[in-house]
């Protein structure tokens, strides 16, 4: 972690000394070791939260980018030139993400932009990128309309239209649950996912007996869960991130719920286990990313991530890692011309990807399909591949 610390210090120094020029941005990028790649670096811009309530996701992104760039640049970068990034903190706020967008589009060295995190911040900036002809590549943007702004907006975010039927399969077909209660984050992501899940579950012959949307900052779920209990479900579905998913799991037992729980892949994080403790034991999830999965691209990523950051990767660092690999490939194919980089998207095929196995873009939707996933269950305080055991019915 020597690199980022140094860059922070120099950034602060610059801010204090003379960084008062609005546009004279100091590069807070990653000084990834360019073992083989030398020469003039090539840059991508990142707009995302480094401070504010979404800051932990931006921190995970950085770790994923840094790892990807280490590998890319050690392998010669882009035709011998190192790939680097500038990370601008948007606080996940549209007011700041549009200013960042203007900054990136006006900066000729930025070849492609990655981010932002949430839909309000990302989609407010999309028209600016579209008009200026700089690719905005969203990698956590599952809003169904995200790529509709125009042909410069691309995404490898997991499409919920593809993801939710998989979750429904797990709950209804594999675990034989027939009366489901769905708890979902009441955000654009959670709401879209919930609607798709309910449709998929109903098609598979299950009944959705309760749906409850909660706000992201909610911590107390007892009364919500009593409502769920009164609907008498035989399984509980969580459309949650890891922190809120763990909080819900912890409050199941105190209100007398013992039904099996199925959560969407975004709970996949070591933090889910840490925050949930014993309460997440037996939670099922269908994760897009699982470190113990034998796929080579996963194993390489996990080993390298552990070596570099000395901790377990989570889904958000994997998304960022994948996004950097995509940026590398399209810059390699498109060169230093922004429009050529856009045109490279449909041409680059089978980019190695932790989440997708290999990713290729559909020019019609400007998204990637074919998300990989594995059926997991929390066992003895760790995620483990599901062994096919159906939980005993409650009551």
């Amino acid at each position: 972690m020597i690199g980022p610390v140094l860059s922070r210090r120099s950034a602060v120094f610059n801010a204090l000394a003379g960084g008062l020029l609005l546009a004279g941005a100091v590069l807070a990028g990653s000084p990834a070791a360019a073992a083989n790649a030398t020469g003039e670096p090539l840059w991508f811009g990142v707009s995302g939260p480094l401070t504010g309530p979404g800051a932990q996701y931006g921190a995970q992104w950085k770790k994923g980018f840094d790892l990807a760039l280490d590998e890319i640049n050690a392998a010669g970068g882009v035709k011998g030139r190192p790939l680097r990034y500038v990370f601008e903190d948007s606080q996940n706020d549209p007011r700041q993400s549009i200013a960042i967008a203007q900054k990136f589009v006006a900066d000729p060295k930025i070849l492609i932009e990655l981010g932002d995190f949430s839909s309000p911040a990302s989609m407010a900036a999309s028209p600016i990128y579209q008009r200026a002809g700089l690719v905005q590549f969203g990698f956590t943007n599952s809003h169904p309309d995200f790529t509709r702004t125009g042909d410069f907006v691309w995404s490898n975010s997991i499409s919920q239209a593809e993801e939710q039927p998989n979750v429904a399969d797990y709950a209804v077909n594999s675990l034989k649950l027939k009366r489901l209660a769905v708890l979902h984050l009441n955000t654009d992501w959670g709401r879209t996912s919930k609607d798709l899940f309910v449709k998929a579950a109903t098609e598979r012959g299950a009944e959705v007996v309760a749906t409850e949307g909660y706000l992201p900052e909610e911590k107390d779920f007892r009364s919500t869960l009593v409502r769920v209990r009164e609907a008498n479900p035989d399984g509980i579905v969580l459309i949650s991130y890891y922190a809120d998913g763990a909080a819900i799991a912890r409050q199941l037992k105190p209100v007398g719920l013992t039904q099996p729980v199925v959560a969407v892949g975004s709970v996949y994080s070591p933090k889910f286990l840490e925050l949930g403790g014993e309460a997440v034991e037996g939670v099922h999830t269908r994760a897009n990313f699982f470190p113990a999965e034998p796929r080579p691209e996963v194993q390489r990523f996990v080993a390298a991530y552990r070596a570099k950051h000395n901790e377990e990767p989570d889904a958000f660092s994997a998304y960022a890692y994948d996004a950097a690999l995509v940026a590398h490939r399209v810059i390699e194919a498109g060169g230093t011309d922004r429009t050529a980089i856009r045109d490279a998207f449909p041409r680059v095929k089978d980019i190695p990807s932790v989440i997708f196995g290999s990713a290729s873009f559909d020019p019609a939707t400007r998204r990637v399909s074919g998300v990989r996933n594995v059926k997991l269950v929390v066992k003895d305080g760790a995620f483990a591949l599901w062994d096919g055991g159906v939980p005993a019915p409650a009551h």
Binding site: P53, A55, A59, A99, Q102
Partner: protein
């Protein structure tokens, strides 16, 4: 989906009490501080977060046993409270009453950001060492921690009650609360009293943070804001400055939320809480448990605002600055700079609106982002669903925001001082929650996509210059109108209401009408600002205008000088510009912003250009 049997109602009641318990921990400390210094301490939530982290350090890094950990947390946070009082608040004793409130916001930013830098933004799980037994109640159960939290809440309230009633220092605290100057004349060391109160309240706040962190098994650097907000609501329901009332108010808030979930579903939870708050404020402005006997407001003390000599820009300078601002894009072509300044002008519209109600009329609104949201949604939906051209939709949105905004705040017109702030804060939250839940109109959490940009004769005004010019021209026009209004008899009347509403009323000023007029103008201005933002952003949802935007707006207004039109513009330019200037400092920039805010409040509490 009404629950069918009585069984779950027992559970809902217990759950309400469980969560009310947690609110009580914060509400008691807030009530104590308010009781003595008449300050809504927005830093209290951050102290609570710091307590959680001290506890986490003690348990995981130093392996201290739980009782020792509690002592360390209480001592550490008590000390922090003393520092906050000494550094952040005592220097502001003679400053206008709004300055300490802002200082607590600045302190809270500094503490939250420092914690984030030290501990990373990742949530952590503080280990509990409590027994795992649970008592079955109704269909569910409660555990040792529930009882411990209740014990700490009630126990600390009882201790405080005894302290205030039976000790000399307690008497001094109560005397200071009743009348600071009289207490000082009687030989009470008011500074010592304040220090003591901050130490006690902060120690309690820190212990609460640890307890709640253990309860939910998660702590993170941003945990304080929401928790503090709920604590503030709870103590208002109970009656500000009333310690037993704060506990009762917290339990009641918990119950209201729990029953709200039971009847309407989880997404209505906070809506219920804030509507209940408004109802209680309107029916019993002193809270449910306030004693009827309260000192009537003294003449000329009902105001937040200290008189100061405003910096008056000469007319030629105003024209010159306006012309220079208009000409800027001809000289500078950096889209990033223009966008940043364009953002500043948009937020200046919000600040202009707020400075009218908060500065000129003295109704400090903490929910002003709600007006932006109304304007933004009105314009977006008029354009997309009703086919109104954008150019017409924007002023219509202003009218909608004026009407709805005034109607929503109307019940709060009879309130004074802090109560207005809290009521408007609640209104702001209600607007967000209605947007979230009224899906047939607003599309709920999915938000409104594809909002067309502003266009004249079919040409969209989207280039770098237009994102600068359009807000600037609108701002200059509305600022000119507002200045004219304030120079007229209307301005004098509004200021008279601010200075002394009783005197104003006895001169025959119909308070409600003038307040309504001010809120209507303010709603129009902010509504236009929100509408323009919607058309620039092209996508909005209920999270686009969150509560911190209201805080930012208030900071702009106070920074510029309350009631000062030029000050509002300057404040917006500075506060939109500062975070961009410090962008190079990445993780540190919010910290720097907080420190700069504190320094400004400390050395220029009347704002850069002075109050008008």
């Amino acid at each position: 989906m009404l629950p069918t049997s009585l069984g779950p109602w027992l559970d809902y009641t217990i759950n309400g009490l469980v969560i009310g318990n947690i609110y009580a921990l914060l509400a008691v400390g807030l009530a104590l501080i308010f009781g003595v210094s008449h300050l809504i301490n927005f830093a209290h939530g951050s102290v609570y977060m710091v307590g959680a982290y001290i506890g986490w350090l003690c348990v995981t890094q130093l392996a201290l046993p739980l009782p020792v950990t509690f002592v360390v947390v209480a001592a550490g946070c008590g000390l922090l409270g003393v520092v906050i009082e000494r550094v952040g608040l005592r220097p502001l004793r003679e400053a206008p009453r709004i300055a300490p409130l802002l200082a607590t916001i600045g302190l809270s930013v500094v503490m939250d950001q420092t914690a984030q830098l030290l501990f990373s933004p990742d949530p952590r799980a503080p280990p509990t060492q409590l027994p795992a037994w649970r008592i079955a109640v109704g269909g569910g159960s409660i555990g040792a921690l529930d009882l411990l939290i209740a014990g700490v809440g009630v126990g600390s309230a009882a201790l405080l009650y005894g302290f205030l009633r039976f000790t000399r220092l307690g008497w001094a605290v109560r005397a200071t609360a009743l009348d600071r100057d009289a207490a000082r004349q009687c030989g009470v060391d008011v500074d010592k009293v304040n220090r003591t109160v901050f130490a006690i309240a902060s120690a309690l706040g820190g212990v609460s943070g640890l307890l709640v962190g253990m309860y939910y098994n998660t702590i993170d650097p941003n945990m304080g804001f929401q928790a503090g907000l709920k604590g503030i609501v709870a103590q208002l329901i109970g009656g500000v400055g009333n310690v037993p009332g704060a506990i009762a108010g917290s339990l009641l808030l918990g119950l209201i939320e729990s029953y709200g979930i039971a009847l309407f579903g989880t997404s209505y939870r906070n809506l219920f809480a804030f509507v209940a708050l408004i109802v209680i404020l309107v029916l019993r402005p002193n809270g449910l448990f306030a004693r009827a006997r309260r000192l009537p407001p003294e003449p000329l003390t009902g105001t937040f605002i200290a008189p100061s000599r405003p910096v008056v820009l000469p007319r030629w300078a105003v024209w010159g600055l306006a012309a220079a601002a208009l000409a800027l894009p001809l000289a500078v072509r950096q889209p990033y700079l223009l966008q940043t300044l364009g953002n500043a002008w948009l937020f200046a519209l919000l600040a202009l609106s707020l400075t009218l109600v908060a500065g000129t009329v003295g109704q400090v609104s903490l929910g002003h982002a709600g007006l932006l949201a109304i304007g933004a949604y009105a314009s977006a939906l008029l354009t997309l669903d009703a086919g109104v051209p954008v150019l017409l939709a924007v002023p219509l949105a202003g009218l909608v925001a004026a009407t709805l905004g005034t109607a929503l705040v109307y019940p709060a017109f009879r309130l004074r001082g802090h109560y207005v702030s809290i009521a408007t804060l609640a209104v702001g939250e209600i607007v967000t929650l209605v947007i979230l839940n009224w899906e047939s109109l607003t599309r709920g959490p999915i938000g409104v996509t594809g909002i067309p940009p502003l266009a004249v004769a079919g040409t969209p005004l989207v280039s770098g210059q237009w994102v600068y010019w359009v807000p600037l021209v609108v701002l200059l026009a509305l600022a000119a109108v507002q200045s004219r209004l304030l120079d007229s008899h209307l301005g004098r009347t509004l200021r008279a209401i601010r200075e002394d509403d009783i005197a104003a009323r006895s001169y025959g000023v119909e308070l409600d009408r003038y307040k309504a007029l001010a809120f209507a103008v303010a709603g129009f201005v902010a509504g236009i600002g929100g509408a323009l933002m919607a058309h620039f952003y092209s996508y909005i949802n209920h999270e686009t205008f969150p509560a911190p935007v209201s805080m930012l707006a208030l900071t702009m207004v106070i920074l510029g000088g309350l009631g000062n039109v030029a000050g509002a513009v300057l404040g917006a330019a500075v506060l939109v510009g500062l975070p961009e200037l410090f962008r190079a400092a990445a993780e540190y920039r919010m910290l720097i912003y907080g420190i700069v805010l504190l320094l400004l409040i400390r050395f220029r509490p009347q704002g850069l250009l002075g109050t008008v």
